[in-house]
Symmetry: C2
Subunit: 246 residues, 2 copies
DNA sequence: AATTGTGGTTGACGTGGATCAACGTGCCCG
DNA sequence: CGGGCACGTTGATCCACGTCAACCACAATT
């Protein structure tokens, strides 16, 4: 056990078998027995302060990360300074999969609030998943899920109008909060309008206006980052029917 | 060589070790020895006629596919009929990874021309990649690459204007043709303007106009689907500098 | 050679969301 | 407690791209 290291690593050895996030995280669906072996895998935990990065584009890839507490955004940037948020991640979700392909990360992962992750050294993960079938299978599912999620975002960016995008975003957040035992209808967004806009391919003003419109129409109540969904059915209807711009 | 079998499966056993696509495909980077074991893995080949689907959204997931000849598009559809092309795939590229997460496919894979794929039964792939480290590693890289690619498309859809999108598309195609030993500057697109538009989040008219503009400016020569890139540097400049809409 | 169809181009016009700008609002910090 | 600052809202204007519509090119069909 080490101490000297500044703030980032704390000695608390992680333990998947004891963790209450099991059914949201990598171990989901694994047997009791396999789970015990997972404890070998997860190294230290690491704390990341709000606005700090867990890794940056270009960093050598060594580990993937499971979010133990808090939340993150990932973004990519273009040479000319433009950047784009590619995702928001919550507890139990896995960060860093982008690094496997080139052995260096291709995006930045930045904490939206003070957060904590479990560090999963990638070499060990590959090794252990050769022995533990359940782990291998779960890991593949996690990667595949990310691909499917990305396709959903591509659909959103490529063929939805502003209000539909925001509705989809809110419903998605609601669903993920629900899965974590929070209210489906009332939650606190950790990201700014600008970050939401970047993720949805819109300007922050457009996001703000769409929020206002939803509020006028009684679909949601918005107070800064505090959101209450008043009419989920209408939000869903907004997605399914009509419109469609490009 | 056989004839009887209808169209879909032909008995020709695939052989990765003999295949000239090795360095584009799943086996890339694997040792001679590991390669031999891969031959156990790949089952039959399957031919798909133009416009036919290799799999459809909802189909049970059983295998992934390596494109042996031809090309494909993948698309997702929304309940209301809108659809979005999520990618175009060429020889050596892998199709079907979306199916792992839910054990059923989440998009359609449709041949853009008469094509042939190698069928890689997924259960066998997992099994073999527990034994063959090189295979495991390559497979993970392939999945990760898909994630990184999708992030690139999200960036494109979320923050580029029409001409930038088309320039990025053309440069990407050029690069992939080059990797396959074709000319970087002259190639034949297998997809329609509508499909390009769907992929880029634009209407076909906008794609057509952007092509015309490029032609006027002497950047490319366009004759229907036949493209000649006359000034790759300017296309790249178009991407890197200025503009940026939303 | 006429016929039909699918895909592509081009023009005229309309609009959703970007841009620019002013003004609130809650929060941190001296 | 007041002043600065990041974040959010709202309005006025503009423009890139969507929409609608006409027309063209090429290929397959007869």
């Amino acid at each position: 056990m080490k101490a000297a290291v500044p703030i980032t690593v704390n000695g608390l050895k992680a333990s998947c078998s004891q963790c209450n996030l099991v059914e949201l995280c990598l171990p989901f669906g694994m047997s009791e027995h396999d789970l015990d072996r997972l404890d070998e895998l997860v190294g230290a935990r690491r704390k990341i302060k709000r606005q700090q990065s867990l890794y940056r584009a270009g960093d050598t890839f060594e580990a993937i990360y499971a979010i133990r507490a808090g939340s993150f955004k990932t973004d990519v940037l273009l040479e000319d300074g433009r950047d784009q948020v590619t995702g928001f991640q919550m507890t139990g979700e896995i960060l860093g999969l982008d690094g496997i392909s080139t052995e260096s990360h291709s995006c930045n992962a930045i904490a939206l609030e003070d957060s904590e992750v479990c560090v999963i050294p990638y070499a060990k993960l590959e090794e252990l998943s050769r022995e533990v079938e359940g782990l291998q299978h779960q890991f593949h599912k996690v990667m595949s899920r990310e691909i499917v999620r990305d396709h959903g975002v591509m659909m959103l960016l490529g063929s939805m109008r502003a209000e539909e995008r925001l509705a989809a975003f809110l419903l998605n957040m609601s669903q993920r909060f629900t899965a974590r035992g929070f209210s489906p209808a009332e939650f606190h967004l950790r990201m700014t309008r600008d970050e939401i806009g970047s993720y949805l391919g819109l300007k922050l003003e457009t996001v703000s206006r769409a929020f206002s419109r939803f509020q006028e129409e009684g679909l949601v109540s918005v107070q800064q980052k505090h959101i209450r969904i008043l009419n989920a059915a209408s939000l869903k209807r907004l997605l399914q029917h009509q419109s469609g711009n490009r």
